[in-house]
């Protein structure tokens, strides 16, 4: 539970600055610092257990079926990172209090910072892959907000966009990798994944998974070739750079490398990809850092280079490389964060970050200068400071690797070269800024910062020195615990001593120091050479690239989404032809071995009529009324087919729906043109005909192949249990109201929604009322035929009686709620047609939308009633009663459910048709604004 609080406290903390915004700045900063301080205490509370090699776990199931749980794990690695995040975070809060100008919104800054802190803690503490990914993306988003904190600067907005695009895209790749891993391992639980190294690495997906995973890591940790976003993110306020871009966020990628080291590393592919990327980043970053005139630019490239160094360590695969990597993570975080803060102080107190202007600051700010010099020396790897120790370990490991076979000796050489440049740019940071003459063209006279602004730098620099002097004593246990979490099996022995005797790594360090000094002294030639190279503006080319990509996409989109329905349908159908047609070509014969039924005269006649009517519909489709008549013949033939092939329920349904549909289309013709103009060119007709006939051929063949194959239906279950379990002999009806009652409930809901949608579509429709038919003939004067109205009146009670009969017998004989509802609806519609809306309205003033609601409620209530008896939703019940007069009677709860179906069908059908019919009268639905 304490683990959850470590995560929740900073999250709650993001609200604190919002509420304390009215207090003075120091109080607001102090209040903001409290939640992370408590979280840090909670973390330290676990310190003993963790440093002894244990781990703490928090588990809360959420949606176990999807593998979504809230799992938190605090082991050595997570502890190390959480310590950095919370510790440096607290220092940053203090620092930002003095850094931010009065016009900057401090609460906003702190709120974003706390959000980011939560996200980072979430990454390092997560014990579930999907949960980890969520926090991963949250860091991208919160860092976007932080980088664009000064949103009035175009540079900040562009830099933030770029960082979000690059890290966000990497995050998607990471998600893909996680999903693949989840599929492979069968769980998103981190511990299970880490234990499945063999399974993952031997699977065919491993290269894909690894590449996607590394894309996520490398984009986040600014590895070459994705490093370009980091220098541009320097538009952020300096506390952000110190926190996100040196100590925490850019380390998230490296954290993942370490986290998944047990599961993904150990293969040739891992070593090649990770080490080459790390090496390239190390060299490029170190080289470019020397030429940056902006203080933060120099630090940014130096960060890239150090991140490359750590990546290279994780890619080398020697025993101690991972340990050295972890050690360097700690050291880099301390010296780089303090250097960023020092750069921020210089910027703050002298008004510039340009090293061409900043010179000789020693005389103005000696204390800050001393602090910065110590930190820069640690960065260069000067002995007695922490940077020296991890760099020594790095050099030592480069000597032990065998990555490039016989060419492996190149790596230590290149590592020394990178060390040379690292010394050179560190010297530039010290010498150019604090010595080297007098400041040029500064707008204000530099001076020391406020006392407490320096405190965070002092703390970190003190750590650099102390760790440099007493490494084993200070962080030995922490490093051991973290290494245990990363390395499978035993952690090999290593020594954190300062002095290892005269050996090759020491020689490399000395070479780096001497070479770096030489290069720095002769930097003029190198600068001249660098100036002759074309200057690549990463931001502009990136934005150009993004713009071109977006244009390509919109071209593709416009090609696909041309706004033409006919085109979409043709494309969809063509893909259907491909997808369904190709597998059919694999079949040798369509016939599946089942004997065909003989053709009799009735069926042959029916089929012929159906074919002729369908053909006639197509031929006469421009004469709409004729086409409508023809299609009704098709529908009639279909219902006859249902009768012939033993589906009386379907035949009854089809017949009544047919009536309703034709009436509906007739009504529609009142509002639509009666003729379709000839529009399609002949070529289009040919195209459509060929597409249609190809689809027809495929569907027909599929249907034939299906029908002639013998099969075992699951329906035997329904037939066996219909009477005993559902209490009815009409199996179709029992399936509808009992076995698959829940489906039916969904279906009548859809019906109700569709009718309500229609009702709403018809309100406020612009009124137009054609006064004549398509040929210009006026409508008949006599509105309602006497014959029809007389017949229909006497028909109504009869029809209602029939529908009640059909309803009640439905459970045992063909019939049921659907059919009875349709019959009733048809009978009532007939009244509308024969007598007119006014006549019906006067006698039966019902709002059909209420009927739909009542029907759905009846069905729902029937389902819910089974809860009263502690049964699952829609459990049916039936029993037999011996009643006087009526005799033995069966009562089933399914009847009540069927009643709901009946009422819904009646209501929906009438709502649809009556709403449309009323359009021509004064009863048209109008939109009523209700308050």
């Amino acid at each position: 539970m304490t683990l959850l609080w470590i995560l929740l406290l900073p999250l709650l903390g993001s609200l604190v600055p919002v509420f304390t915004a009215r207090w003075n700045r120091s109080a607001c900063a102090l209040a903001t610092a409290l939640p992370p301080a408590f979280a840090l205490m909670l973390l330290l509370y676990h310190a003993d257990a963790i440093l002894a090699g244990g781990s703490v776990r928090f588990f809360q199931p959420w949606i176990p079926l999807l593998g979504l749980d809230i799992t938190l794990i605090l082991d050595g690695l997570a502890f190390l990172f959480a310590l950095l995040i919370l510790g440096i975070g607290l220092l940053i809060i203090l620092y930002a209090r003095y850094y931010l100008a009065p016009r900057d919104s401090m609460p906003r800054f702190y709120a974003y910072l706390m959000l980011f802190m939560t996200a980072m803690l979430g990454i390092v503490l997560s014990g579930n892959l999907l949960q980890l990914w969520l926090f991963w993306e949250l860091t991208s988003i919160s860092s976007f907000l932080l980088i664009s904190f000064w949103w009035h600067k175009a540079e900040a907005r562009r830099g933030a966009r770029m960082a979000l695009t690059v890290t966000g895209a990497g995050g998607l790749a990471l998600l893909a990798a996680f999903l693949l891993i989840g599929q492979l391992v069968g769980s998103y639980d981190l511990q299970q994944v880490l234990a499945s190294a063999e399974l993952i690495q031997q699977h065919a997906w491993y290269p894909l998974i690894l590449v996607l995973f590394l894309l996520g890591c490398f984009t986040k940790s600014a590895q070459f070739p994705f490093h370009f976003w980091l220098p541009n993110a320097m538009a952020a306020p300096t506390p952000v750079s110190a926190y996100l871009h040196s100590a925490t966020m850019v380390k998230a990628g490296i954290f993942l490398l370490a986290r998944f080291y047990p599961a993904l590393s150990g293969t040739e592919l891992w070593f090649v990809l990770v080490s080459i990327t790390g090496l390239a980043t190390l060299l490029i970053g170190a080289y470019l850092a020397l030429f940056k005139h902006d203080l933060k630019g120099l630090l940014a490239y130096s960060t890239i280079s150090h991140l490359g160094l750590i990546t290279l360590l994780f890619g080398m695969g020697t025993d101690l490389a991972a340990v050295a990597g972890l050690f360097h993570i700690i050291n880099h975080a301390t010296f780089k964060a303090s250097l960023f803060m020092a750069a921020g102080i210089i910027d703050h107190e002298s008004g510039s970050r340009d090293m061409r202007k900043l010179n000789g600051l020693w005389q103005f700010m000696p204390i800050t200068a001393t602090l910065a010099m110590v930190a820069a020396a640690a960065m260069a790897g000067v002995p007695l400071l922490n940077g020296f120790l991890s760099k020594e370990m790095f050099f030592a490991e480069t000597l032990h690797q065998h990555l490039l076979g016989s060419l492996s000796w190149v790596i230590p050489v290149l590592a020394t070269v990178a060390g040379v440049f690292s010394v050179a740019y560190s010297m530039r940071f010290i010498h150019d800024v604090f010595f080297n003459g007098q400041p040029k063209g500064l707008t204000k006279t530099p001076h020391e910062p406020p006392r407490y602004m320096r405190v965070p730098v002092e703390v970190l620099v003190a750590l650099c020195i102390l760790v440099g002097l007493f490494p084993g004593y200070l962080i030995g246990d922490l490093l051991q615990a973290a290494s245990q979490a990363v390395l499978p099996g035993e952690v090999p022995y290593y020594s954190l001593a300062i002095w290892h005797g005269f050996n090759l790594p020491l020689l490399m360090s000395v070479l780096a120091l001497v070479g770096g000094t030489l290069i720095y002294v002769n930097r003029k030639h190198l600068f001249d050479f660098q100036n002759t190279l074309p200057d690549v503006d990463a931001l502009n080319s990136f934005e150009r690239g993004v713009k071109q990509f977006a244009e390509r996409c919109s071209q593709l989109y416009q090609w696909l989404d041309s706004g033409s329905l006919q085109r979409y349908m043709t494309l969809t159908l063509l893909s259907f032809i491909l997808l369904a047609g190709l597998p059919l070509t694999d079949l040798v014969t369509l016939w599946g071995g089942r004997a065909e039924l003989p053709i009799d005269a009735v069926n042959a006649t029916g089929a012929t009529m159906l074919l002729i009517a369908a053909f006639a519909t197509v031929v006469w489709h421009r004469k709409r009324v004729v086409a409508l008549l023809m299609i009704s013949v098709v529908g009639l033939m279909v219902s006859i087919a249902f009768t012939r092939f033993s589906a009386p329920d379907l035949a009854l349904t089809q017949l009544s729906v047919e009536v309703v549909t034709i009436i509906l289309l007739m009504l529609a013709l009142f509002f639509l043109p009666h003729k379709t103009p000839k529009q399609s060119e002949s070529s289009r007709v040919v195209r459509d005909l060929s597409v249609a006939s190809m689809v027809g051929v495929i569907v027909g063949s599929l249907s034939y192949a299906l029908m002639t194959r013998p099969f075992n239906s699951i329906s035997d279950f329904f037939i066996t249990n219909a009477k005993t379990g559902g209490g009815g002999t009409n199996v179709v009806n029992v399936i509808l109201v009992d076995f698959r009652g829940f489906d039916t409930l969904g279906e009548i809901t859809v019906l109700g929604i569709a009718s309500l949608g229609i009702f709403k579509l018809l309100t406020r429709i612009p009124l137009f009322k054609p006064s004549s038919d398509g040929d210009g003939r006026p409508w008949a004067l006599e509105r309602h035929s006497l014959l029809l109205s007389t017949v229909s009146q006497s028909l109504l009670p009869l029809a209602v009686m029939v529908s009640i009969y059909i309803f009640f017998r439905g459970h045992n004989l063909p019939g049921g709620g659907f059919i009875a509802g349709l019959v009733t609806a048809v009978a009532i519609i007939l009244q509308y047609i024969a007598q007119g809306v006014d006549w019906v309205k006067a006698r039966m003033n019902v709002e059909y939308q209420r009927v739909v609601a009542v029907g759905l409620l009846i069905a729902l209530a029937t389902g819910a009633a089974s809860w009263l008896f502690n049964r699952p939703f829609l459990t049916s019940w039936f029993d037999y009663f011996d009643l006087p007069v009526l005799g033995k009677l069966e009562l089933a709860s399914a009847i009540a459910f069927d009643l709901g179906v009946y009422v819904t069908v009646v209501g929906s059908t009438l709502l649809i048709l009556a709403s449309l019919g009323k359009m021509t009268t004064s009863h048209r639905p109008v939109h009523k604004e209700t308050i």
Partner: protein, 117 residues
């Protein structure tokens, strides 16, 4: 018999699709109706053809498969609801947009032809 039924289903599908590919709303509605006949028959016949075997217990020796029948029964009713929705949408589109083309506007060639008249 199966051959005949399969031919009918294929032909209904082809007719329905051809009509659905037309440019005006009314033929599209006819096409959709026709296609739903075809689809309903297709699903129904996936339970194989049975003569004189209605799935009412105690009325025959061999029962037709009741499951596709139950599926198709609701499909018919929902198909009606969807057709109705489409019809009303078409009417509304005609009222709001002034034409009954499926894209809501007449194709350019058509406009030109009209203007040149």
């Amino acid at each position: 018999m199966e051959t005949l039924v399969a031919c009918c289903i294929g032909f209904l599908t082809a007719c329905g699709i051809f009509l659905m590919l037309r440019g005006r709303t009314f033929p599209v509605m006819l096409g959709l109706t026709m296609l739903s006949y075809a689809v309903n028959l297709f699903i129904f016949t996936s339970g194989r053809l049975t003569l004189r075997g209605a799935a009412v217990l105690g009325t025959s020796e061999q029962y037709a498969d009741p499951l596709p029948q139950a599926l198709v029964l609701t499909a018919i009713v929902i198909g009606f609801a969807m057709t109705a929705f489409l019809v009303i949408l078409a009417i509304r589109a005609r009222a709001d947009l002034g034409n009954d083309h499926v894209d809501g506007k007449l194709p350019d060639a058509d406009v030109v032809r009209k203007e040149s008249r």
